[in-house]
């Protein structure tokens, strides 16, 4: 499902002295089946932006169009239920949404709300828990007995079990160990490729951007300041540093090499790109050296 923002402004706590214009004139199209990363420093409006896609927040001005369904300032909650079925959001620190007596019951909550039968919901829940690699011994436990990382997996499973077409991830791996982080990112990537999910990933990990995304949106002060393929966005290193954003590890490494005189044809963004370029450099080395 495609997503379009048309001149969207959003104000938190409108008409009070705490008024906070958090999105300004957002224009954006996210094609069906794409993998988009949203980056930008703390408070730049990333979480605010993504909550517009399923109508949790409604634009103060302008409109959001998700596969034909229009969301504007006057849209009612009732009209959004069917949309929410197709848009799954994994919030920042999603473990705070767990509530049920057992892990399986918690994961079933979403499907049951969307009118799926109990057996089907149980199947989906087990399927989702397998996907997030939560060992079966935990399935009948209380979610509150799990570790933070395990709770995170349950929360992610709870969103996957609703079978969304658009999957929105707000820093889904913050606070996970490196292995868990890798597994989760690979899972999302697999869903993207196998089930053609449209993915929106909010992240501070530039490596995730380089490894997975085919499009990057850079936000600053509630505005979109850059929008393009990772190669284009990461090309302007000075600009990125000025906006308090980093570079992928491979690109950083390449820059350090470049400072010492190694010449690269183009900036490598991931490890395989870096290896490829280094091998090429070696090949081009004059024989008398």
């Amino acid at each position: 499902m495609s997503i379009a923002f048309e001149s969207v402004d959003f104000v938190y706590q409108a008409h009070t002295p705490f008024e906070n214009l958090s999105l300004r004139n957002i224009n954006l199209t996210i094609p069906d089946g794409s993998y988009t990363a949203i980056i930008g420093h703390t408070g730049s409006g990333k979480s605010t932006l993504i909550q517009h896609v399923n109508g949790l927040l409604r634009p103060t001005k302008g409109l959001v169009n998700v596969d034909g369904q229009i969301i504007n300032a006057n849209t009612k909650n009732k009209q959004l239920v069917s949309l929410r079925q197709h848009v799954g959001i994994v919030f920042q620190f999603p473990e705070s949404q767990l509530f049920a007596e057992t892990v399986v019951d918690d994961v079933k909550f979403g499907p049951l709300n969307f009118g799926v039968s109990d057996t089907e919901a149980t199947n989906r829940a087990k399927d989702a828990l397998q996907k997030v690699k939560l060992p079966e011994e935990f399935w009948q436990k209380s979610p509150f007995e799990l570790s933070g990382g395990q709770m995170r997996r349950v929360a992610i499973a709870g969103v996957l079990a609703t079978n969304p077409k658009i999957l929105i991830l707000d820093e889904p791996t913050a606070g996970l160990d490196p292995q868990g982080r890798f597994e989760m990112m690979e899972l999302f990537n697999e869903l993207h490729h196998k089930e053609q999910l449209t993915i929106l990933l909010v992240t501070h990990q530039m490596d995730d951007v380089a490894n997975y995304a085919d499009n990057v949106i850079v936000m600053d002060g509630g505005q979109i300041v850059k929008n393009g393929a990772p190669v284009e966005v990461f090309r302007d290193t000075k600009w990125l540093i000025k906006h308090q954003l980093g570079l992928p590890k491979a690109a950083n490494f390449a820059i350090k090499l470049a400072d010492r005189g190694v010449k690269f044809d183009k900036m490598p963004l991931d490890i395989s790109g870096l290896v490829h370029q280094i091998v090429n450099v070696k090949d081009r080395r004059p024989s008398h050296e």
Partner: protein
């Protein structure tokens, strides 16, 4: 959620903002008592003018006060209706069983509505112009004499300031959880009452969980920074009466005197 005024403080430097919180608290209480004593039109007009003067000298936008009154309109109307139908005395206009509309009943209904509004307005000035910390500081200082009878004044003040401090946090937290469950298809505005209550569980449990966690973390953080109870602690914000408080007190005393005179006249 954003409309909830309780615990919301609007920073400023107005006359009222610069008053000592203890003075504000006491003067507000005196005003409320005076409003309850008022029993004539002229007294209410004076009370109203006093409220407007206080609002004006707080420099806070009128919109806020409307927001403060709005959620309570239902309660006010209910009280008015009860008063209209059950009030007795004076000329009887209509009557059916125990219900009757009388001239005194009508008059009392109007008085009650006015009292409500005036009290809400003035207490809104207090909460909007005084930070929660100042309010609990004021209460602590005013209750200090009770220390003699072993009333736990410090503990009470600490509990109060923590509670006030966490109201906005809990509101934000509720909103976050609400949004997460809504994304998972929970619809809190439809279905039977039982179904709605069941869905409410999906909000309440995470909320309690996080409140308890927060409480525990806070306690640990306080202990690890050496908190050992309030005895002998000095204060960062030292309360001091200033010229503003004297002016405020004189103004309030004069107003109350006027209300009392008008009360005895009619």
């Amino acid at each position: 959620m954003n409309k909830i005024l309780f615990g919301r403080y609007v920073p400023g430097t107005s006359f009222v903002h610069r008053m000592d919180p203890r003075a504000k608290l006491i003067l507000s209480l005196i005003y409320i008592v005076a409003v309850f004593m008022a029993n004539s039109w002229s007294a209410y007009v004076v009370s109203f003018i006093i409220a407007l003067t206080i609002i004006a000298s707080s420099g806070i936008a009128p919109k806020f006060f409307w927001d403060g009154v709005k959620p309570l309109i239902g309660v006010i109307l209910l009280t008015v209706v009860i008063q209209v139908f059950f009030g007795v005395g004076g000329h009887v206009y209509w009557h059916w069983g125990i219900l009757s509309i009388t001239s005194d009943g009508l008059l009392n209904a109007v008085y009650i509505a006015i009292r409500f509004v005036l009290i809400i307005l003035v207490s809104t000035v207090l909460t909007l112009s005084t930070s929660p910390l100042e309010i609990s500081g004021a209460i602590e200082s005013l209750f200090m004499p009770l220390k003699k009878i072993h009333f736990p004044v410090y503990e009470m003040a600490l509990m109060l300031s923590i509670a006030l401090r966490f109201v906005p946090t809990l509101i934000d937290e509720t909103e976050k959880i609400l949004n997460a469950q809504r994304s998972r298809g929970a619809n809190f505005s439809s279905g039977s009452i039982m179904a709605r209550l069941k869905k409410l569980v999906s909000i309440l449990i995470p909320l309690f969980e996080s409140a308890f966690n927060r409480a525990e973390e806070l306690a640990t953080a306080m202990e690890s920074r050496g908190y050992q109870g309030g005895e002998g602690r000095s204060k960062y914000r030292v309360l001091n009466y200033t010229k503003n408080d004297i002016i405020g007190t004189i103004f309030m005393m004069a107003s109350v005197a006027l209300i009392m005179v008008l009360r005895n006249w009619s």
